[in-house]
């Protein structure tokens, strides 16, 4: 077993645009907190600019976007670009919600690191984040 990380993972969760479906993001927030992570929620109706600024200001490790609207093919690449421009390209950018399979390669190419679609088990998301965090810390220590 890896040693547990010394400080908790900090996660910013956000909703972009006018999509106001919050059940998914709420469940994720509770699951991550229960797993010992620090979770900040931006609230609804955010622009990519607002989320990028919040990610930098809150100094989070992970940015998770919940999207159940078709706007993700525009807003997610824009957010990835804004994060890189702000020198925050090392933050893990996650997307979840309704994201059709045919969009996923495009989004990955544009800088989204991992996509969890609707129905994903919260335990898998926690496992993925713990794995990523352990790797990141090992890389930093090396």
């Amino acid at each position: 077993m890896e040693d547990l990380p010394e400080r908790p993972l900090r996660v910013l969760l956000a909703k972009l645009g006018m999509d106001t479906h919050t059940v998914g993001v709420t469940i994720i927030a509770h699951a991550l907190r229960e797993a010992g992570m620090e979770v900040i929620f931006t609230g609804l109706k955010q622009t990519p600019e607002m989320v990028a600024a919040a990610a930098v200001q809150e100094d989070v490790d992970v940015v998770g976007i919940s999207t159940l609207s078709a706007g993700h093919t525009r807003s997610l690449p824009k957010l990835a670009r804004l994060l890189r421009e702000a020198g925050a390209g090392d933050k893990l950018l996650l997307a979840g919600g309704v994201i059709p399979e045919e969009d996923q390669a495009f989004l990955t190419e544009a800088g989204v690191h991992k996509i969890f679609t609707m129905g994903a088990d919260t335990r898998d998301i926690v496992t993925y984040l713990r794995g990523w965090w352990a790797e990141r810390q090992a890389a930093e220590a090396a």
């Binding site: 969760l13 645009g17 006018m18 999509d19 106001t20 479906h21 919050t22 059940v23 993001v25 709420t26 469940i27 927030a29 509770h30 699951a31 979770v39 900040i40 929620f41 609230g43 609804l44 109706k45 622009t47 609207s69 078709a70 706007g71 525009r74 309704v98 059709p100 399979e101 129905g119 088990d121 919260t122 335990r123």
Partner: protein, 573 residues
């Protein structure tokens, strides 16, 4: 035991003793040899323990009394029915959800539906409109015309209302946060069409308090949201007394995982906030309650939770009106329910299974009293736009329940069931206890400001999801009897850039040609009304008639009220 000693109680004491004997001698030894399937057995949403057996002793334990708890149909407390003859004279009105597609096609689709003999329609708007933005606001890029009609100015409604108003007699409009602007636009458009408002019913949902609680299409802080909603209620009662100024869509709390007690308590405490604010405008409870008693309620798959919820809803409303407000008119104490099987019980996997689910939930709706109206969603709703076959089956489900099962042939046929009456009474008691907590906080508006509802629902969302992930709740096709995952065919609504561009061009052309000085003056009068507390509807009416836009008027109110921006804690996340 609360009751005085009488023959009934003595008999039930005997039953309690006998039940204990049965447990020790008969059931206990059996269960020791045959362990139970579940430990514990619980109801689906409330997760209340379910006993193996209910007897008259349980009715005593909850203090059940036939005359005070049930009474008779059409009479206080209306537990058995608000109708004197249940559904023996008429069935509930059977309605059907039908997808509308793009906003621009609304008028055409509406004409088609009116030709099919329908006389009522629901008008839904895109997220730009319901969140109070014009189509050319950068923040709504990609949303224009998607979830419903794009409504920027009176011009759009004039086009949409190219309809035969001799056939259209009822229109429901769902535009909660910008309600005074939306109401004004509809009134102005009807005036232009020469429609006699006395010969037509406009029903505005006006459900801003539910938006703060779980839906999220809010603009202004809650106290201002409530004030503008009550402006609309007051305007309608005074000017269009045959219209309907409010619907409490408890059916939005339910998909947000409100359990039945939360649904009843949250919905009713929310309606109390509207009632209290409307009473301050100089009305009596008997005048306004019949305007504020429309509720839309979903039923989920736990059969008895669903049935008991509908029975408890009727009774809790009646008690609230009588005990809290001193209502005296029967019309004030009778709730108007519209019921529906919930879409959140339906699965994307194995969609034909959903037909069975809909049949069972529609039966529960009917056994719970159905209400004035029942709507059935479509079994393949999760997959694609409504297909003809799904629409036909959806309608048939209600007819099968109504004509083939016999459940509507006697009034409230499950009354007197030891389990049903115990659960109904427990829900009622728990709902009143929860309402008392909310009233102690200062009512629903204060509870929203403190994030109380949002946090309570957030916890339910997490816990109920865990029940499924960890297999405590079996969901066929999801975590039980699953099939190897096939590639799911989901029709994704793709952005139609041309439609958005056309709408934006139309709006900008309007801005270029209208009388800008008149618009500026009218918008300023709306800002002034927002500031000085006078009713916003007349000011909005003047403004929309000179083609001030939806977004401009919503922004004028933003200038005065500010915006609602809850953090994690207040959002329940």
């Amino acid at each position: 035991m609360n009751k005085p000693l009488g023959s009934f109680t003595v008999a039930n004491d005997n039953i309690a003793g006998e039940a204990a004997r049965w447990e020790a001698e008969t059931r206990g030894p059996f269960v020791a040899a045959n362990p139970e399937r579940r430990d514990p057995f619980v109801t689906q949403a409330l997760t209340w323990p379910i006993k193996p057996l209910y007897t008259p002793a349980d009715l005593d334990a909850v203090g059940f009394d036939y005359l005070t708890d049930l009474g008779f149909p059409g009479e206080y407390p209306y537990t058995r029915s608000t109708r004197p003859n249940g559904h023996r004279s008429q069935f509930w009105t059977m309605t059907q959800v039908t997808g509308f597609g793009k906003g621009q096609a609304w008028s055409k689709r509406a004409r088609y539906m009116l030709d099919q003999g329908l006389s009522g329609l629901i008008l839904e708007y895109d997220l730009a409109t319901t969140n109070g933005y014009d189509s050319d606001d950068p923040i709504v890029e990609g949303e224009v015309g998607r979830a419903g009609m794009a409504l920027d100015s009176l011009e759009d409604l004039e086009a949409a209302f190219d309809l035969p108003f001799d056939k259209l007699k009822y229109l429901m409009s769902v535009c909660n946060a910008p309600q005074p602007v939306n109401l004004a636009m509809i009134i102005a458009a009807l005036e232009k069409k020469g429609v006699d408002p006395r010969d037509f019913v406009l029903h505005i949902v006006n459900g801003i308090l539910i938006e703060y609680t779980c839906v999220g299409r809010y603009i202004y802080p809650p106290e201002h949201g409530l004030r503008i909603a009550v402006d609309c209620i007051e305007y309608i009662i005074r000017n269009h007394p045959n219209w309907a100024p409010l619907s409490i869509i408890s059916a939005q709390l339910q998909p947000a995982k409100a359990n039945p007690v939360q649904e009843i308590a949250f919905s009713l405490s929310i309606v109390c906030a509207y009632i209290d604010a409307t009473l301050e405008r100089g009305f009596t409870i008997d005048e306004i309650a019949p305007y504020l008693n429309h509720f839309v309620v979903n039923v989920d798959m736990d059969f008895f939770e669903g049935i008991c919820k509908l029975r408890a809803f009727r009774k809790c409303w009646a008690r609230l009106m009588k005990e809290r407000y001193g209502a005296t008119r029967p019309e004030a104490m009778k709730i108007r329910l519209m019921t529906s099987p919930t879409t959140i019980a339906l699965t994307l996997q194995q969609p034909l299974n959903n037909i069975a689910r809909l049949g069972i939930m529609a039966t529960a709706c009917a056994l719970g009293g159905a209400g004035d109206n029942m709507t059935t969603p479509l079994h393949d709703e999760a997959h694609s736009l409504p297909a003809e076959e799904a629409i036909r089956v959806g309608a048939a489900i209600q007819h099968i329940v109504a004509y083939e099962t016999g459940v509507a042939e006697t009034i409230d046929p499950l009354a007197g069931s030891y389990y049903v009456e115990t659960l109904t009474k427990q829900m009622e008691d728990a709902a009143f206890a929860e309402m008392d907590r909310i009233f102690e906080m200062g009512g629903a508006t204060k509870a929203i400001e403190r994030g109380y509802f949002q946090r309570a629902l957030g916890r339910e969302q997490y816990e109920r999801n865990k029940d499924i992930e960890e297999g405590r709740r079996k969901w066929i096709g999801v975590n039980h009897l699953t099939l190897p995952e096939k590639k799911r065919e989901i029709e994704i609504f793709r952005l139609d850039d041309t439609m958005e561009e056309e709408q934006v061009a139309k709006l900008q052309a309007l801005r270029a040609r209208r009388d800008q000085a008149a618009v500026d003056a009218a918008v300023e009068r709306v800002r002034q009304a927002a500031r000085d507390g006078s009713n916003l509807v007349p000011a909005c009416l003047d403004a929309v008639k000179v083609y001030a836009t939806h977004g401009e008027l919503c922004n004028a109110m933003r200038d005065v009220f500010g915006v609602h921006a809850p953090d994690s804690q207040l959002a329940g996340v």
